[in-house]
């Protein structure tokens, strides 16, 4: 029983790690404080779920989720291109609320608050990932691949330009780089990985509704990114493992889930505040915000 639960937690670690590593690319490397990250996750989950329910194979749903979310990333990059700091945070937050409102109200497509039940478990080459252990392996492979792709991107010349944009956008523009294009690529790639994380989540839980994509779900991701340390992928992964597992003892002490759920958010929020006050670079971070 406990080991089955442990596998469940590890799957969540994997999904959160993908989400956080993706956000790290936008926030840590490019310096875009994107509070709309959860919207990409939402878009990915819904695209994947709707396609799967329409009978499309998993790999197609999975990739469509990523690409669909990426398109939204490009879309978001257009109006937010010139914004920085507070304004960027508010605009991206607004974006996540628009997506949430659409998911809740476009009942013809998303069934609104009723959610989408019966999303099939993923299957590849005739093999169905029906039990959690096989799903864990799938998640692990996808998380690892995402990690290495983002690591490659971050250490490529393109990644260096992104870091330069974060540190001094004007200087990069003076060097003749099209920073708008670079930033929209960064946001698009970040959204792509958030989208595939959403797809994994949808196929794992097999049920999604808009309540899975609110601000409450954003706080663990932001906490992981900042506590792990901005622009540190290793820190992000370590923080994902620690933060997902950290509130779990509460459950084993015997608190009911109506307490454990909010307590988990409170722990994340509190840790985030403490880190911001006492260790602003996080544990492995190279830079501070701004």
């Amino acid at each position: 029983m406990i080991s089955a639960y442990f596998i469940h937690l590890l799957i969540l670690v994997g999904i959160y790690a993908i989400l956080a590593v993706a956000l790290q690319l936008a926030m840590g490397f490019t310096g875009l404080l994107n509070l709309g990250h959860i919207a990409f996750y939402c878009v990915g989950a819904y695209i994947s779920a709707l396609l799967a329910l329409a009978g499309w194979p998993f790999w197609f749903c999975f990739l469509s989720a990523g690409i669909g979310a990426m398109l939204f990333g490009f879309l978001l990059a257009i109006p937010t291109n010139k914004l920085k700091g507070d304004y960027l945070a508010l605009a991206t937050l607004g974006f996540s609320f628009v997506i949430y409102a659409v998911a809740l109200n476009w009942t013809g497509l998303t069934r609104g608050p009723l959610g989408l039940p019966g999303i099939p478990k993923p299957s590849l080459f005739g093999f169905v990932f029906s039990n959690n252990l096989s799903f864990l392996i799938l998640t692990f492979i996808i998380a690892l691949t995402s990690y290495f792709i983002i690591k490659q991107i971050a250490s490529s010349p393109f990644g260096k330009v992104l870091e330069a944009i974060r540190d001094n956008e004007l200087a990069v523009r003076v060097l003749g780089k099209n920073t708008f294009k670079m930033k929209s690529y960064a946001l698009g790639i970040s959204a792509f990985f958030a989208g595939i994380a959403g797809s994994l989540y949808a196929h794992y839980i097999t049920f999604i509704d808009p309540s899975s994509f609110t601000l409450l779900q954003l706080i663990p991701v932001i906490a992981i990114v900042i506590i792990g340390g901005l622009a540190s992928l290793r820190g992000t992964v370590i923080a994902a493992v620690v933060l997902v597992l950290l509130p779990e003892p509460l459950r084993f002490i015997g608190f009911p889930s109506s307490i454990v759920g909010p307590a988990r958010q409170m722990i994340y929020a509190l840790l985030l505040i403490l880190i911001l006050i006492y260790k602003p670079k996080g544990f492995y971070g190279k830079i501070e915000l701004e």
Partner: protein, 291 residues
Amino acid sequence: MFSQLFVNSLIAGAIYGLVASGFSLIYSTCKFVHFAHGATIAFSAYFFYFLFSFLGLNFWVSAILAVVFASWLGWLMNKVVYKKLRKRKAGNVILLIAGFALLIFFEALILMLFGADVKTIGYIKIAKGLEFLGAIITPLQIVIVAVSFVLLVALFLFMKKTKTGKAMRAVAGNKDAAEIVGISAEKIYSRSFIIGSAIAGIAAILVGLEQNLQPMMGTNLMIKGFTAAIIGGIGSVPGAILGSFLLGFAENYGIWFLPSGYKDAIAFVILFIFLLFRPYGILGIRKNFQK
């Protein structure tokens, strides 16, 4: 229909105005987005519910205690979190994230203490509406509009006439110059949190009486508040009030074109349009918005 929507817009605008003016007051002096302003509102509304509906205290006693509680909460957040961050010279983005974390913290706390179900205060039992030019308005709604009008005028006079109000505007205008003439910026920050949060406390009671309480109400109100503040010109209290009424009207008349579920989305579309074309708002001064 038209006049009913007009009345609804007015009520929405009055409520947003209270949220946005408190938020804008804090923003204008402290220069960062105090996200947890929404948490102040939600927590004070629940506190009021706890005192009045749960403990059965007198209405006015509960109301006064709730407003005091709101002030205290705002003051506390400033002292415990924001002040420490400012001391280590954290940028306003860090303060924003800290505020966001505070908002989530308090919402989760409300969820833990009161549960996820919707709460009603139920002070006014008979909500018999008055007919007014074909629109129905309840006495409570008249009170809401009147209270918010009086408060907003009082706030305006306070900022213009009193010494503290002038000091606040001085800090908002130029913090360093204000400190040179002997105004303690930290003290002013603290006071703007106290006053802004007290207004939030009043907003909390009015919202609590007019609508139901739910743990996430703070986020929603907060977003309306800052959308209104941005429309009007962030950091300008009269601007925030103007923006609130514009937002109230846009949302309510928007229902003519869209299903009512999209009411919230309308606010963000407006927010986006303003951020794109006029990020400094209607009454705002064009400076620093890209910094």
